[in-house]
């Protein structure tokens, strides 16, 4: 597995016009901004103790969610894990159902049974997130298998952190996908830490993730996960490679960084588990800042629009939160509803 290497601030040459590049980057930026605003609001209001469930914020990791999901159609399927807010939102998951779930409300996407770690919105193609690390990978493969057997053209994507690749189920799933020739997309967000434990304590120095993945028969790509344009481009390459080699799954690994604590509303760099140099390095490579700098270079006139968009997103999330807070809690009489499907 690659180290958390620097994100290059220069961009590769492209054949597109600068206007096309700008339009796309603007859309990607707006989506990242929307997710950032929503999660920042969750962090700010968490102390009110009304959202009474663990939250794993994806602040800092928005580019992977947005850059990958920008390629996906509504019918394409996504699954994720404990840090799934960004994936859910980028896939078009209903924001009110998500917030209602965090607030334990009846209107939550799980009716208040799951909390932040159990997001789902199948209408948006988000087929579920669960907190057991690695667990949705084989389920996503099963969805992909069912689609393949039906002759469908939907793509199934599993998002997970690099810690999940240390679980046996990753290897089992990757191998099954290769053996059964089920094309699915594995998106690995490598933020370098499993809670407080660095990758250096979890993989031998000479471990080479790409070779490991390829040796199973899978495609593999890796790139910088804080550069949304690179995420978008690399995902495009991955999908193109999958189309050219039907039946092959593909793993794409993106290096990234979470700015907040593993679980909770705060930042925890004062604990000293991440090196100051790394912290500084990644602080300079905020995915929103990277995109913003590039956008303003392409079109300085976007500056006020950025400010306006941020204000709009804040208004929207605040309205959702107020709406959700005034919505009913689940009826206690429903406690045992649905232990078995009828």
């Amino acid at each position: 597995m690659m180290a958390n290497s620097p994100v290059p601030l220069s961009q590769p040459p492209r054949a597109e016009t600068s206007s096309q590049i700008c339009d796309r980057l603007w859309r990607l930026y707006l989506e990242m901004l929307r997710i950032r605003v929503i999660e920042r609001r969750i962090a700010e209001r968490y102390g009110e103790k009304e959202m009474r469930c663990p939250v794993h914020l994806s602040i800092g990791q928005e580019a992977v969610a947005v850059g990958v999901c920008a390629h996906l159609r509504k019918q394409d399927k996504v699954m994720s894990a404990h840090r799934s807010h960004g994936h859910y939102l980028a896939k078009g998951g209903n924001i009110r159902a998500m917030l209602a779930e965090l607030y334990g409300r009846e209107a939550g996407c799980c009716g208040g049974r799951g909390g932040s770690m159990h997001l789902i919105d199948r209408e948006a193609g988000f087929w579920g997130a669960v907190p057991i690390v690695g667990s949705t990978m084989p389920i996503a493969l099963g969805l992909a298998l069912a689609d393949k057997r039906r002759g469908g053209d939907e793509l199934t994507t599993a998002f997970f952190g690099e810690g999940a690749t240390e679980e046996g189920v990753f290897t089992e799933t990757l191998n099954l996908a290769c053996v059964l020739r089920v094309p699915m997309l594995f998106i690995c967000e490598n933020n370098g830490f499993s809670v407080y434990t660095p990758l250096s304590l979890r993989r031998a120095p000479d471990f080479e993730f790409g070779s490991y993945v390829r040796s199973h028969g899978s495609l593999y790509f890796s790139g910088h996960g804080n550069d949304v344009e690179e995420v978008f481009a690399l995902t495009g390459q991955a999908l193109s490679a999958m189309r050219q080699d039907p039946g092959r799954p593909c793993v794409v690994e993106f290096s990234t960084w979470r700015y907040y604590e593993h679980c909770g509303p705060g930042q925890d760099d004062h604990l000293g588990y991440r090196e100051a140099e790394q912290i500084k390095h990644w602080a300079e490579r905020c995915p929103l800042a990277v995109a913003r700098t590039r956008l303003l270079a392409l079109s300085p006139a976007l500056d006020p629009e950025m400010t306006a968009a941020e204000k709009r997103y804040i208004r929207e999330i605040d309205a959702v939160i107020e709406n959700v807070r005034s919505s009913p809690m689940p009826d206690a009489a429903t406690l045992q509803r649905g232990v078995f499907a009828p």
Partner: protein, 358 residues
Amino acid sequence: MSDKSPTRELTFAEAIREGTALCLARDPRAFVIGLGVPDPKGIFGTTAELAAEFGADRALDVPLSENALTGLVIGAALGGMRPILTHQRVDFALLSLEQIVNQAAKWYYMFDGRGGTIPIVIRMIIGRGWGQGPQHAQSLSSWFAHIPGLKVVAPASPADAKGLLVASVEDDNPVIFLEHRWLHNMRGPVPEGYHRTPLGECLVARSGSDVTVVASSHMVIEALRAADFASAHAGVEMEVVDVRCLNPLDFETIANSVKKTRGLVVADDDTRQCGFAAEIVARVGEAGLKLNAPPVRVTYPDCASPSSSALAAVYYPAAPDLFLAAARIVGRGASLVDKFPKRPCPVDVPYLEFPGPF
């Protein structure tokens, strides 16, 4: 619901095979998956020739990967399929407990129905005999029955093996389908054609007025042997209730029997502590059902099943133990246990001609 007419006999394994083939033929969404499904032995004959009949993609051989396979069938079920996953031992399925307990069992509940249903059947075989040993002979039925959201089925007869398998495949919930290895070669009448035994209904396998024996899986066979002897030699009429489905549990049938007999023996193919037998005793107690004597549990002792036949002989409870328990409750005939006919074969094989190994 079920076809009552024919008296044709099949082995338990053939009945499973027939039920599976019926499901594959009726429902294009159904498929069987697991290590060895299409191999020459075909999971003790239960999947024999399915690949030839229905195609390799309906009877899949796969890597061992029990945990990912379980996730795979969960996902396939969410995607509209109806998979049957096979494990050649319960013990092997322990590698997949994360997916079974955290995902399959909870999916429908934890997403408040919006996650979709998980119509999967996970077949697990309880090994026994010929020195199977500590990691090839667990039942763990109580474990599975402890988990909300899992249906747990343990047939005892060929007819129920077929009928319950068909019902399990049709069910929209994850079903743990436990097959005791010693049942596979037993013969019995099996209805032809479509035959479905509803999940969650006990069967009174033998009527009796003196004492109720609640049993499941292979212990039903032992209970019926005990009841034959008790009736013939001790004038004790044992009523044998075959649980068939540990969850959801048809307690009403059990309660009705206990109300009639005022005596209770629970025979369980599992260890004792916190087991299914304790659950039945507790429910009878909570229901305030009057018993003429304290209830008795007949279970495996609280240790792993040893390999040596000398130890296995004292590990597994059998028909004489059930007779003795019943006779003591009723208060007559207990001394006749010495006259209980010896099994015509060594204790570590299901029948005399058994060649070993499993």
